[in-house]
Amino acid sequence: MTQISVRVDGASYTDEVEPRTLLVHYLREQLGKVGTVVGCDTSNCGACTVHLDGEAVKSCTVLAVQAAGSEVTTIEGIAQNGSLHPMQKAFHELHGLQCGYCTPGMIMASIDLVGDNPDPSEHEVREGIEGNLCRCTGYQNIVRAVQQAAAEMRGAQA
């Protein structure tokens, strides 16, 4: 077992983990951060996407020990003072989710995408979220939501 200290959604944790433990399993099973989910075992689906020091990562592709000393943000940590993140709000307003299983990862990946490209075209959004699979929506409303949130996030920065 290896001891790690990590900040997750603004709180500090120190835990013993098996070296082989994936970050997603640490989040779900040791911290109870079950908002982040597992959808595959080959890093294709992106359902487990979180932010590691501000960058989107698939938390099934990161070992918990690699997150030691880092700041992790999950879907449970992006609403501020009780108000939804613009990306959460846009997914709701534009019906960018149905069953909602891919949604945490999709939202986290989309926030990172907009961070890199504040005004993405439809094509850029489609390319930018291709590492996240959704089986319900056909993606059209997700693309709209990302663009709407990007506009709101640009406005907030101005």
Partner: protein, 831 residues
């Protein structure tokens, strides 16, 4: 789409139904406050891992579990022999013929394994990792048997057998002949007098539902009671079937479907793992959890489609269709699961589609192979039927030298002919195919694209353009119980609802139709808000728990709104009727003098007098001042059993670019106009269409479950099984026409499967339209660049080398599609 305010801004009684309400469900789903089954943690909970067969067909020899049993933190190991007495057989609720052969389906294999991925042992451990580690320690002797994979070979004389104890690989043969049924005339006569007969062999490749949430089951024993949480579409059916299978009495079993991450038919099942989890929890008296990996899911959860379709169509020289003959081979896989044999039968009545065929014959053989069982997948039988008819209509148009749309128009049911009884004996309820088609043509920009197609053809552009149609209908709202009975299905098709009026005026709606992404909580709230005149926000929809919602038949077949929503409306109307009696008493008026508007009863012609239904709820709770002889409750139940199916329809048009140098296909534009009857929530309806389109397009272009010649699934991860990403799909231009369904109080027809049913043939027809002038007459699905390139440059359907050495259809073992002769017709056509 324009954003819609949460609250109607207009004064007066704005109707909820028809508004693009944002979904109630989203609040928890966008914040991670979800209740997926795998989230569940219970004190002392044990974890399961399943040892699965790596071979497709073998006798089981010794299973040595000692090393696993003594591994750290392993609590128990069970083999099929340990569970044989209790596990029974996975139930098949649809014996389609009295003679149907069901080989039996043990949850854990006992003597023989019949497909790769079948369970052979179960590890129970204190942690999931300990259980998975111990899987490697189980040593199984497999004594290999011949592997049966190809349906056409499986039916040949002297073929090896899928199961040791069956006489042949045919499970059943099911025939519908319109001439014999009295719903049409003889196909033999129709074909004999035809000027033109076109025959084709189409392949519906095997697909995997690939819901995003892997399956998971938790069972908690409490004395002799058991609570099961499961990622299922069908908690009610699951409870009944588990009781009948395992001997745990129904009243001792509670099944809960918490948040469920998609299903698409894939979670319409009683799975071996649900049985195993229940039996292990029962044996050990401890809570037990099983959650699958994606790889386990792809190889062991049921698959869909997988048919070979021999289709013959007869017409006169003017393009009037005279007859249709369909011979299906439907791959059951190794076992019959819940509705495996019934899936092709659900399609049996839909091959004639929207066309006025005088004669029709359908002949289906269910065939066993050593592959994962098939069962429901979005559309279940109807996408297969729609593909066959919409493809062969294009082939007939080519044969006749007619425009494909003109041929359709000449033969489809006209708007003034509804209700129309088809040659298959179904009564289509309402619609207007011309109107939907006109609207779709405009949405697509048809004339411009046809012009561009002509230019590209003339200039011999390496990128050719094609336009493909699908003018589909489907059969929704499963189902009238009597019809299901006549088809030997093991249950009814009704749906149940209850309305509970709480003392504070809030409303609980209990529905038997359990959602997994469809937005029931929002749409049902809209229905009830209109019926009761209470605010949308004051309504809570409860579902998916057999203790809370004791009666229900769950969610599949686009039935939720059409059948379940109808029950909700009827129950609401009963509440209003009961409240009226109380209101009359409180207002000291005759019931006949009361009007009910916007949630308030008032005496006609007496402004200012009035009592709201929410106030009546409180008065009912107190029951201090109640009419004599009336029980103090205004709650109500309703069970709705439809008299007929509903028949959504629409016109889907795909414009496809085909790069003739690389074989790459790109959807240039996709336009569709769907008539799903009354629209309760346009936001949700559009979303359902989008999602269906994605899955239908994925069948045409991307997805196929491929087995190698030893029966290994070679598309067993998301690396190999190509669920499309956002970058793989186009923008969709969607529209609606509205012809209400007369068969339910809402007027809705069902929308869950429409996009998936309609889109596949439109996409393939479009690709063929782009390259038909180059001599291409068919391309096997999925239309990979290699297949398309080979079809253009090497002839045939592109399926020769791409899949050689595998059992993908079109592989070396099967004939090519184009020009194949079938035993079904003896006339010329294009062969």
């Amino acid at each position: 789409m324009t954003a819609v305010e949460d609250r109607p801004m207009t004064a007066g009684p704005a109707k909820e139904v028809g508004q693009a309400r944002k979904r109630k469900e989203d609040a928890r789903l966008i914040t991670g406050k979800t209740t997926w089954t795998d989230n569940m943690v219970l004190p002392g909970m044990l974890h399961l891992a399943v040892v699965r067969s790596p071979v497709a067909h073998a006798k089981l020899g010794t299973i040595d579990v000692e090393a696993a049993r003594s591994a750290p933190n392993v609590v128990a190991v069970f083999t099929g022999r340990d569970l044989a007495e209790e596990q029974g057989s996975i139930p098949c609720a649809w014996p389609v013929t009295p003679e149907m052969v069901n080989p039996g389906h043990p949850s854990v294999a006992v003597d023989e394994v019949n497909h790769v991925g079948e369970a052979v042992a179960v590890i129970v451990a204190r942690s999931k990792t300990a259980a998975q580690d111990a899987v490697e320690l189980v040593d199984v002797d497999y004594d290999p048997l011949p592997v049966v994979l190809d349906m056409e070979r499986a039916l040949a004389e002297g073929a090896a057998l899928t199961h040791d104890h069956v006489a042949s690989n045919e499970s059943y043969r099911w025939i519908f002949d319109a001439g014999e049924a009295g719903t049409g005339s003889s196909t033999d006569e129709a074909f004999a007098k035809a000027d033109v007969v076109v025959s084709r062999r189409f392949v519906q490749q095997r697909l995997i539902p690939a819901f995003m949430e892997p399956r998971s089951t938790v069972v908690q024993p409490q004395g002799d009671n058991y609570t099961m949480w499961s990622a299922t579409q069908v908690p009610h059916i699951l409870r009944i079937m588990l009781a009948m299978t395992t001997g745990v009495p129904e009243h001792k079993l509670r099944v809960i479907a918490p948040d469920v991450g998609g299903g698409f038919g894939g979670k319409l099942q009683v799975t071996p793992e649900e049985v195993i989890t229940l039996l292990v929890a029962k044996r050990l008296g401890k809570p037990v959890k099983w959650t699958e990996t994606r790889s386990e899911s792809l190889m062991s959860a049921h698959h869909g489609r997988d048919q070979i379709q021999y289709v013959d169509i007869a017409a006169d020289r003017e393009g009037n269709v005279l007859g249709l003959k369909v011979h299906l081979l439907a791959d059951m896989g190794a076992y019959l699961r819940l509705v495996t044999p019934g899936v092709p039968i659900l399609g049996a009545f839909m091959f004639p589609a929207i066309y006025k065929f005088p004669a029709y014959r359908f002949d289906c053989q269910g065939v066993f192979t050593n592959k994962t069982p098939t069962d429901a997948y979005r559309g279940a039988g109807r996408p297969e039927a729609t593909f066959a008819i919409e493809r062969i209509m294009d082939e007939l148009a080519v044969e006749l030298g007619m425009d494909p749309l003109e041929l359709r128009r000449k033969n489809w049911i006209n708007a003034d002919e509804f209700p129309f009884t088809t040659v298959a004996g179904l009564e289509y309820d309402s619609g207007d195919y011309e109107q939907a088609t006109q609207q779709a043509l405009e949405l697509l920009g048809y004339d411009e694209l046809r012009e561009e197609q002509r230019r590209r053809r003339e200039s011999n552009d390496p990128v050719q353009l094609g336009i493909g149609f699908s003018t589909f209908t489907e059969m929704c709202g499963l189902a009238p119980s009597r019809v299901l009975g006549s088809l030997s299905y093991g249950a009814g098709g009704w749906e149940h609802a209850s309305i509970r009026m709480l003392p504070t005026g809030k409303v609980e709606v209990i529905t038997g139709s359990t959602p997994h992404g469809q937005g029931h909580e929002t749409a049902w709230s809209q229905l009830v808000a209109d019926e009761l005149g209470v605010p949308f926000e004051d309504i809570e929809v409860l579902h998916g728990d057999t203790a809370i919602s004791p009666r229900g038949l769950d969610t599949y077949g686009s039935r939720s709104l059409v059948v379940g929503g109808a029950a909700v409306v009827n129950a609401s109307q009963k509440v209003v009727a009961k409240a009226r009696t109380v209101a009359a008493h409180l207002l000291e008026a005759s019931e006949d003098d009361l009007q009910f508007e916007s949630g308030t009863f008032s005496v006609r012609g007496t402004p200012g007098s009035g009592v709201s239904i929410q106030e009546i709820a409180l008065a009912t709770f107190a029951a201090h001042n109640f009419p004599d002889g009336v029980e103090p409750s205004i709650d109500a139940d309703a069970t709705f059993d439809p008299v007929n199916f509903s028949f959504p329809h629409g016109t889907h048009i795909c414009a496809m670019e085909v790069d003739t140098e690389t074989g790459m296909v790109t959807i240039r534009k996709y336009a569709c106009v769907d008539d799903v009857g009354k629209i309760v929530n346009p936001l949700i309806v559009e979303g359902q269409i989008h999602g269906g389109l994605a899955q239908g397009i994925a069948q045409a272009l991307y997805e196929e479950a491929v087995y190698d010649e030893d029966g290994n699934l070679t598309t067993g991860t998301f690396v190999d099984y190509l669920v499309p990403s956002a970058a793989d799909l186009p923008h969709f231009d969607t529209g609606n026409t509205v012809h209400e369904a007369p068969g339910n109080p809402i007027g809705a027809k069902g929308v869950g499967e429409a996009g998936c049913i309609a889109s596949t043939p439109a996409v393939v027809n479009a690709a063929l339209d782009a390259v038909r002038h180059l001599g291409v007459t068919d391309i096997l699905m999925p239309l990979t660049p290699e297949r398309v390139w080979r079809a253009i440059h090497r002839g045939g359907d592109g399926g020769d080398r791409a899949t050689a050495g595998t059992n993908a259809y079109g592989g070396a073992q099967t004939e090519t599609t184009a020009g194949v002769s079938t035993p079904e017709s003896r006339l010329g056509g294009d062969r």
